[in-house]
């Protein structure tokens, strides 16, 4: 750091040598820890050529897994968005007792292991579970079936939309909504024409993160799916099965699809953060 005086480094930064050393170490570690795993997914998927990779994705089991993953996300996302919107409206626009507790409860899924979430669902809906007999008597199947997969996904992604919307809605004043009501708009009209447009980017952002997590969820879904091939195997579950059967190309081709989804998610997320940073709460947290 002897050169500080000579090169007149600003006092609010480190010496050039320190900056160089720190950046190199940190960037090298980032490449090894974050980028290498991503690169290896595509390298392994294409190892036997793109044709083999496409063939693996075209297998009936693979197509069934893709369809199921899309179906689960298509059911879970709107429900989650509606719950998140309701949560944000109640919490951001009104004061009531027990609000802090309610916010904590919304965040609970963040700190529960996905496997424990799956276990809890099995204990509630499975055979021998609390509601197991009742469900059986009415011929309703939740565990090892689509409803179980949806419930597990909903549990894991529950906080995503609410966490994004609450701070954004809280920052916007109630004045615009009050004006709409004064001018005679109904509650639904106010929601449609004032509230939703105001939070649309934040809502999109929350749904985007929710979707990435929903399509990639493994732990909770693994417990409740029963892994019935072609019926309850989502893409991540199929990846595990293929990998354990040493079908490397097939496993990594499926993984490359999900990795592509992750990259698209990150690109959209970066775009939203860059273009609409002022309308997002999340530019300040994960």
């Amino acid at each position: 750091m002897a050169d500080t005086a000579l090169h007149a480094t600003p006092v609010t930064t480190e010496a050039r040598s320190v900056r160089l050393a720190l950046s190199s170490v940190v960037l090298a570690l980032t490449a090894v820890l974050l980028l290498a795993p991503l690169a290896v997914v595509f390298a392994e998927a294409l190892r036997a050529g793109p044709l083999a990779s496409l063939q693996a994705i075209g297998q009936p089991d693979a197509l069934a897994a893709i369809r199921l993953t899309l179906l689960v996300a298509a059911i879970a996302l709107p429900l989650n968005a509606a719950a998140g919107l309701a949560a944000a409206w109640a919490i951001a626009k009104f004061d009531f007792r027990g609000k802090a507790l309610l916010i904590t409860l919304i965040d609970v899924p963040f700190s529960v292991s996905p496997v424990v979430a799956g276990l809890a669902l099995v204990l509630l809906y499975g055979s021998g579970g609390v509601l197991g007999d009742w469900l059986k008597a009415h011929d309703l199947k939740i565990v090892f079936a689509l409803p179980g997969l949806v419930l597990a996904t909903l549990f894991i992604t529950f906080p995503f939309v609410a966490r994004e919307l609450i701070p954004v809605m809280a920052e916007q004043s109630r004045a615009e909504e009050e004006a709409a009501l004064t001018l005679g708009a109904s509650g639904w009209r106010m929601l449609r024409t004032v509230t939703l447009p105001n939070v649309r980017w934040a809502l999109l952002y929350g749904v985007l993160l929710c979707n990435a997590r929903a399509m990639g969820e493994f732990g909770a879904v693994a417990v409740i799916s029963g892994k019935i091939r072609g019926q309850t195997t989502t893409m991540p579950i199929l990846i595990e099965m293929l990998y354990n059967e040493y079908l490397s190309t097939a496993a990594f081709s499926m993984a490359a699809l999900l990795a592509t989804l992750a990259l698209v998610t990150l690109a959209l997320k970066s775009f939203l953060e860059w273009r609409h940073a002022d309308l997002l709460a999340a530019t300040r947290r994960h």
Partner: protein, 275 residues
């Protein structure tokens, strides 16, 4: 719950929707888990937790998560500092890549890391001759947990670095402090609440992590078998009692850590007085 007067409509509907969704999706299943534990009785639960295999699995999950979170605390803080303060080509790309572990499914990360660090993998091939075995050892578990936990530290600390006013550091330098002293005495105290929060979030996520770990861990009972995997194994054997006991222990650890996070945040806020 009483609402204060507000002219806006929809409060009962929104709260009702939220409470029903929260109950059905989150609270009811967790209540079923607690209820099952109560039905078993504390003796039964402790009996299952007393087995050597369960004890080793719980200890491993906690120890590996702690090691990974400590690594992420240091590395994540350094990465956040470089991203927030230094300008270099490709910075935006690296900044976006930090979120990769949030977006990449854990099973994908798991098989990718295993392939890299297996004895014949791209990195494993280089490390094996040096006597460094990563895949199928506890070190592999650390690596997977470092991967999933890293963004929590970076994303918690980075915005706080952005908010540090340059005047504080200038004042410190004017008063004769070396750069190191300024970092230690001015910057670090401001960052410490965020560092602690990031550390705790990374820890909480890692303790319960399953997907990225099971491929690389080797899953040897008593050695590299994590607690969530043991739950899955017991469920596959239809041993719901044992699975419930481990699940309750993990739930207890999670909520203990949640309380700890809140307590440290309150404590640092009181000590430092802002943020």
């Amino acid at each position: 719950m009483l609402r204060t007067s507000s002219p806006l409509p929809g409060f009962p509907l929104a709260l009702g929707l939220l409470l029903s969704a929260l109950s059905v999706v989150v609270l009811l299943p967790l209540a079923a888990l607690l209820g099952k534990g109560l039905a078993m009785g504390p003796g039964q639960v402790l009996h299952h937790l007393g087995s050597a295999r369960v004890g080793a699995a719980l200890l491993l999950s906690f120890r590996a998560a702690l090691i990974a979170a400590l690594f992420n605390l240091v590395f994540g803080a350094a990465l956040a500092w470089v991203l927030a303060r230094y300008r270099f080509p490709g910075r935006r790309l690296i900044d976006a890549a930090v979120d990769l572990p949030f977006a990449l499914p854990t099973a994908v990360a798991g098989i990718a890391l295993t392939t890299l660090y297996a004895p014949n993998g791209a990195f494993g091939r280089l490390l094996e001759p040096l006597g460094l075995h990563i895949a199928y050892t506890e070190a592999g578990i650390w690596l997977a947990l470092i991967f999933v936990g890293l963004p929590f530290v970076v994303r918690t600390v980075q915005p706080v670095i952005d908010e540090i006013a340059p005047e504080w550091e200038e004042a410190s330098a004017t008063l004769g402090a070396s750069r190191w002293t300024t970092l230690r005495r001015v910057v670090l105290p401001v960052l410490s609440p965020a560092l602690m929060t990031g550390f705790a979030l990374s820890l909480a996520r890692s303790v319960g992590e399953y997907g990225s770990v099971i491929f690389i861990a080797g899953n040897l009972p008593g050695k590299t078998e994590i607690a969530p995997l043991l739950i899955v194994i017991r469920l596959e054997e239809y041993d719901y009692d044992a699975a419930t006991a481990i699940g309750l222990a993990m739930l207890g650890i999670s909520f203990g850590m949640l309380l700890l996070i809140n307590a440290t945040q309150v404590w640092t806020r009181r000590r430092i007085g802002h943020v």
